[in-house]
Symmetry: C2
Subunit: 206 residues, 2 copies
Amino acid sequence: MELTKELMASKTAAKQDTRIALLEVGMDIMLEKGYSNTGIQEILSALQVPKGSFYHYFDSKENYAVEIIRHFDDCYTTMLKTIVSNPEMTPLKRLRTYANESRNKLNDQACRKGCLIGNLSQEMSDQSEVLRTELSIVLAKRLELFAACIEEGQKLGEIKSQHSAAELADLFMSALSGAVMMAKTLKRIEPLDNFINIMIDDLIKA
Amino acid sequence: MELTKELMASKTAAKQDTRIALLEVGMDIMLEKGYSNTGIQEILSALQVPKGSFYHYFDSKENYAVEIIRHFDDCYTTMLKTIVSNPEMTPLKRLRTYANESRNKLNDQACRKGCLIGNLSQEMSDQSEVLRTELSIVLAKRLELFAACIEEGQKLGEIKSQHSAAELADLFMSALSGAVMMAKTLKRIEPLDNFINIMIDDLIKA
């Protein structure tokens, strides 16, 4: 009886591993190539997983992408929260730390890839209402985290208060996402540097 | 002799018309669906043009996209120049007018489509060095036009001078492109409103 339980647990773990592996590999490929250019066969070959197994976990490519977005978001939101809610830094310092980390990561990747959410937003918002809805949930969640941090900075007198925290968070995310897009196209990191030096260290600073 | 010349001229005009029609239809479809999701067959069917004729004008889909980018850029740059070099408005007013027009167009399109250059930049910068190079030429051209306008505003004391015109133009374009992307995903126009109200009417204003 115990052995059977153990066997079942190990089988469940293996299944869970396959699912996670499919999500991780799909996430990497989709980050680099976008949704339309990602072939399921490429992912199956990379992992040596049969097609039937893929469709056991995911109904369709679209549903697979939804799960990839959620998986990416789980990891990303945890990282983002750790930085923008860190009580050991002032709110402006937190925003700068987050922007610096985004900048350094993009620079290390030779201005390739960028952010999965930004890439899929641009590519798929008009193509799939299912993906757009999922992406908008992630964007709204990030906007809330940034707004909370900015509001704290406004209360401390560290960030300008002429505009609401929600409005500033909106502009902050627009400018950061756009800077990543520009850096990817121009293959130079300056748009991120300008975002940090001008927007964070000067314009929104009280 | 005169008749032959006329016939030849009319044939050349018809050929030119077909080429332009292929560019215009391709531009519309690519703006809505992106590069990967655009099928050449769809364009040929829409125009009732045979495949051979398409390949008479364009070597490949990639080359076709390059020509679409150039065609789009020709029209767009003319419009952009008219606004950002208009001597009848102050530089800041010109930037606001341009941003307002972008905002209203996106709003009229129910926050769909956006800008072909931004869309293809996000989708294709890591996929095709040929397209990335073409897109980066367009971005650089726009950055120059914005920088010239901002520099004029700085000289007039209308725009802040703590940062160079080129750096501010970089941030201006990042924030505008990102706002368009956010608006497309959230299907609400506020990111554009926030960009105009906060960035133009407040933060960069001297």
